[in-house]
Symmetry: C2
């Protein structure tokens, strides 16, 4: 939670966080400002002090709406900075921040830096700024960052927004299911009204349209992968592929609120019309492992415990797993899940058994998504729902949706 930031900063011997970049599609900035239409902004928050938002003059109204204290870049005109920098734009850019940090009285200590932005440019600018403000140490931390630790425990208002996302995703998934079931079929292939094959691309276009109807964005695309593609977990599907009966279809959908807000993540695997015995058997195994792991979820346990347990269960069923070989491409080849929030992937991580900051605690939001992949057999199965932990420590699925492999068709 945001209120954890101060003690997390202290625990990490840091004196401030600094978030830079645009206000949208930049999770750290959305977290601190709520988003809004700012092409470039900076939020600086010192330990035990309020966050300050630095903004461009043209974006002053958007800046005001955040409710944060504001500081207008126009106080430090580029022209003057360029003069001081003898025309060097990198130095002129660093001078902006020298002025800002000096103005707010932060010239000593450790500053943690966040933001999804032009990373190469920031690298060179920060190294220059380091020489201009030798009392500051800038640091970008890794996947267990202070900010991601705060973001990992959601407040009730955040949980409600994610649940709303889940409801809309279920509505869209249901429309996809009905849409597929209502197509005409010839030669085991779904046909459009013009009698040409319905393609993966057609289905994705419908999904995007339906998501837009509900006001959502789909920045990461949708996975709608059939046959061999379904056997490669991150294959998003081949747009021109026709949709045929009896093939496994992995349908993984993960849109977010408009402007880069909260995500929801959900997967079902379907076979249209019928399934081979082998596909049905894989499906039953994935479903049983899913149910077993969910039944064992326990507060205070490290997420990695459940990844390990999933490997154990799949190995017991005779499948190779990623804990045996990280480069594996057949069997159980990925992680059981990941945290979900303003990032589609965030803490808790399911691969850090030694790190207590990945324990499941009240406010945790994460996916459970076991899967089995056999690309050479042309099939894959994954089942995924997004879960959270209530303030009372109960594990709950945000929204429910049936788990059936075979979708009846016309």
């Amino acid at each position: 939670m945001k209120s954890d930031l101060d003690h997390l900063l202290k625990e990490n011997q840091a004196d401030a966080i600094w978030i830079t970049g645009p206000a949208q599609h930049n999770p750290p900035m959305v977290y601190m400002t709520g988003g809004g239409h700012m092409t470039q902004a900076d939020v600086i928050k010192r330990v035990d002090e309020k966050a300050i938002l630095c903004h461009a003059p043209m974006e002053r109204d958007e800046a005001k709406r955040t409710g944060l204290e504001t500081l207008n870049y126009s106080k430090y005109p580029l022209k003057e900075r360029l003069k001081l920098a003898k025309g060097d734009r990198l130095i002129a850019h660093a001078l902006l921040y020298k002025h800002i940090f000096t103005e707010i009285g932060l010239t000593e200590g450790k500053v943690l830096v966040y933001g999804k932005t032009d990373a190469g440019k920031l690298f060179s600018m920060l190294n220059k700024l380091q020489t201009l403000l030798p009392g500051l140490v800038f640091h970008g931390d890794m996947e267990d960052s202070v900010l991601l630790q705060a973001m990992a425990t959601k407040e009730p208002e955040e949980l409600e927004r994610i649940r709303e996302m889940g409801k809309v995703v279920m509505a869209v998934v249901s429309r996809v299911e009905n849409f597929l079931a209502s197509q005409t079929i010839s030669n085991e292939t779904l046909l459009k009204s013009n009698q040409t094959p319905l393609t993966i691309g057609d289905v994705k276009n419908h999904i995007n349209l339906w998501l837009a109807e509900y006001g959502l964005e789909n920045p990461e695309d949708t996975i709608f992968a059939i046959g061999r593609d379904s056997g490669v977990p991150h294959s998003s599907g081949t747009l021109n592929d026709p949709i045929t009966l009896g093939q496994t279809i992995v349908f993984d959908i993960f849109p977010c609120e408009k402007g880069g807000g909260y995500f929801y993540d959900f997967t079902r695997t379907w076979c249209l019309g019928y399934a081979s015995q082998e596909a049905q058997s894989l499906y039953n195994q994935v479903k049983s492992v899913y149910q077993q792991v969910v039944s064992e979820l326990e507060i205070g346990k490290n997420a990695a415990h459940f990844q390990n347990r999933t490997c154990e269960l799949f190995e017991g069923l005779g499948h190779a797993t990623i804990r045996q070989d990280p480069a594996i491409e057949a069997g159980y080849v990925h992680s059981l899940g990941h945290g979900v929030g303003l990032n589609i992937h965030e803490k808790p991580w399911f691969s850090r058994k030694d790190d207590p900051s990945n324990e499941l605690v009240p406010g945790s939001v994460f996916t459970v998504e076991p899967g089995l992949y056999y690309p050479e057999k042309g099939m894959g199965v994954r089942l995924e729902d997004t879960y959270f932990v209530t303030p009372q420590g109960q594990f709950e699925k945000f929204v429910d949706y049936p788990m059936n492999l075979v979708l009846p068709v016309n």
Copy 2:
């Protein structure tokens, strides 16, 4: 053009470019790979050599589709790197790149770094990598970067894609115009079928839906700002505001191809039903300056020349301009335009009079968007089209759309 990269690198005494981050919504990566569904990738291109794409094992199919030479991260398992790094994840991360650069034989020289990604983390990792590969110098350049210079001159295929975007944008703008004109009106306010006021938010929802129908994304939102908001160039509009007659509405729309591809940028200013004399007079002035500047566009001239000329013209009409005071909030307060491509804002820049890389040349794509803003009077006017320079040096608007201030209503 991409084919300029080698000589631009040489001119800048650089030995390679390195692009990192996701494959979508990351303009440098989209430029080099064409996009695709990769959550993390690296493209390294040495002078006079082919680009190499490094990718995650699960994303091997997406990587193959780019047609680039590929290198799988799985060659350097995290487990082994963590062991070497004694558990330090930052060092383990830097070791991945040490291995990659060593494998491709790039251990000496200057490497330009690009990518829209987690910038703080990259900062710390690069400084660590610097110590592991002391023969390399990493550098992130500014707004006149080598990559942006290459991207600034579009190939015919890129121009065609931008023109297609323009056609779709015109179709959506026309639908918005018809939609507004067909609402019922009471008390000078547009009403929905349920007799409640039509809001800015309603209009934006329709815009997003129509854009999705054409398969576009709208990651940067739309500006649909009325009254005082229209007098603040970057105000995107207040969602709950009703839409009333006689107020200036600045409608600035700038969607991109799915996955973060090419943008188009377009603005019209409308008053529904009628316009005040003052608004009409501002409109006529902006339109005349627009036409004058377009008539003067000339190949080989620096874009900044036309910003200067626009200030001159507006000053001649009695308005304050940004060249007189960079912090100005009333009058002509922004730049005449900007380049457009995989970034909504890119080269040519209109503010660098001394930099020949901002000259208008064949392949340049840029907006022309003069405007006048009087927030205290509750009005603003901006008119914008996207232009390009043909191989023969002619200036052309991609697509046309009428310029009329007053939209007749029911």
